[in-house]
């Protein structure tokens, strides 16, 4: 049928968790198949090859979802092809939107990362120092290649133009449903923005003291990590001393982590108007620490602040990697 909306999914440097969120729609996904057609879903679900995408006509896909960050030259190559084939391109999930946890790799050199991954882990046995090489000649005649590793992690929008963003690690399936509905009905925000309900995690969190009768916001008098104790499961985590990024993160998840007594770590992406998530986190958390003793307590408890504040967003920051 010509009227069906053609969807494409492409996994770059991610873990395919974002695609699991689509699958989590379960019977709703099956229902939508009346209106949509999956034209490309690689390398995870459909039996298609990269070449099949390259052979498609330009603009053959209506909406393309790309999840995962850019780490290898293969990712750059595939992202550019997908951009040509797609009318609308969505950076789907926090990795392609902000870099994701793998983005923290930009704080280390390639040598450090390779040594850890291929040599120094306790379960690795690599006495000959064998590391992956982009090119290798086997038996003097087979010229084999692997995608080559780039110097730092990049976001999708640093490689191609992106029309919309969806945050989350992974995006909550109910939000995926809302986003798909928005796409089908055409009720979309201005190009270049997040598809989001625009509310902070605190806004949708049951623990928010502002929404409780007779309760009020208070400053932090101590800092705790989640290993230091079990938080009370009804009180705001910030008020108990557990640093939570709820005030500065998009709440499309419906505060899922807070429902299981875990502080928000910011995978939803920054609220509209914020350019640098980590810097905004420093700003917001800094303003609710009661005094300098609490600040030094935080600095002691989290010895690497940049990995804490930029957990999902390091490559999107103004300082995108170690200098």
């Amino acid at each position: 049928m010509a009227d069906k909306i053609k969807l494409g999914f492409l996994l770059l440097g991610g873990c395919a968790g974002c695609e699991m969120s689509v699958v989590d729609l379960s019977e709703k996904l099956a229902d939508t198949l009346e209106h949509v057609e999956i034209a490309f879903w690689a390398p995870t679900v459909a039996d298609v090859k990269y070449d099949d995408l390259a052979k498609m006509e330009d603009n053959a896909i209506d909406v393309a979802f790309i999840d995962g960050m850019i780490r290898l030259d293969e990712h750059v190559h595939m992202a550019r092809i997908m951009r040509q084939k797609a009318k609308t391109l969505i950076a789907y999930g926090v990795c392609s939107a902000l870099g994701g946890t793998a983005g923290l790799g930009s704080l280390h050199s390639k040598e450090e990362l390779f040594e850890k991954a291929y040599k120094n882990t306790p379960t690795t046995d690599n006495p000959d120092d064998v590391y992956p090489q982009p090119e290798c000649l086997v038996d003097g005649k087979y010229d084999l290649t692997l995608p080559s590793y780039q110097e730092k992690v990049r976001l999708l929008n640093q490689v191609v133009d992106v029309d919309y963003y969806i945050g989350g690690c992974p995006p909550h399936y109910s939000h995926v449903e809302a986003a798909l509905n928005a796409l089908v009905t055409g009720r979309l925000p201005p190009a270049g923005s997040y598809i989001t309900n625009g509310k902070a995690v605190c806004d949708v969190c049951d623990r928010n003291p502002v929404n409780k009768e007779g309760d009020h916001r208070a400053m932090l008098h101590r800092v705790l990590r989640t290993v230091d104790g079990i938080p009370d499961d009804d009180t705001c985590l910030l008020q108990q001393g557990y640093i939570c990024f709820g005030p500065i993160t998009q709440g499309d998840c419906g505060a899922s982590c807070l429902h299981v007594n875990t502080p928000c770590r910011g995978c939803g992406g920054p609220l509209p108007g914020v350019e640098d998530y980590g810097a905004q986190a420093v700003s917001s958390i800094g303003s609710i620490l009661n005094d300098e003793n609490v600040t030094s307590q935080l600095q002691e408890k989290y010895p690497n602040l940049s990995k804490f504040f930029y957990r999902y967003s390091l490559p999107s920051g103004i300082l995108p990697k170690k200098i």
Binding site: I318, L319, I323
Partner: protein, 149 residues
Amino acid sequence: MKSPNIIGFACQWCTYAGADLAGNLRCKYPPTVKLIKVPCSGRVKPEYVLKAFAQGADGVLVGGCHFGDCHYKDGNYKTKNRMDMLKQMLEEFGFDPRRFRREWISGAEGKKFADVITEFSAELQELGPNDALVDIQPGNEVEEVTRNG
């Protein structure tokens, strides 16, 4: 190296008044600082500091009131919390934290303002220009050569 380029965020009640006084007192200090008047040092987001560095500032100064003097009672306490954490983060990124200063300069301390700028300029002169951060901004960097991209 040419003379350093310093961006100074100055609270209008204290540090900016201090800079004014430095002029009235005919204190001499190098013309390296570009002051931006802000209502309170607590208004300065860490993002502004990073942005200044990214756009080519060799040094950034955030100046506020001494503790207890803040016109808005606790703005400078927030500044201290934020800027101390930011400084630690800059260090973790391998960025020289000496390029970033947080100073409390009151409206009566014209001399201190001149001294801070003189000292900061001399230090930055030694450190040389801040190219590292400018070069890695998207758009400024040379794209890596890709084999099949």
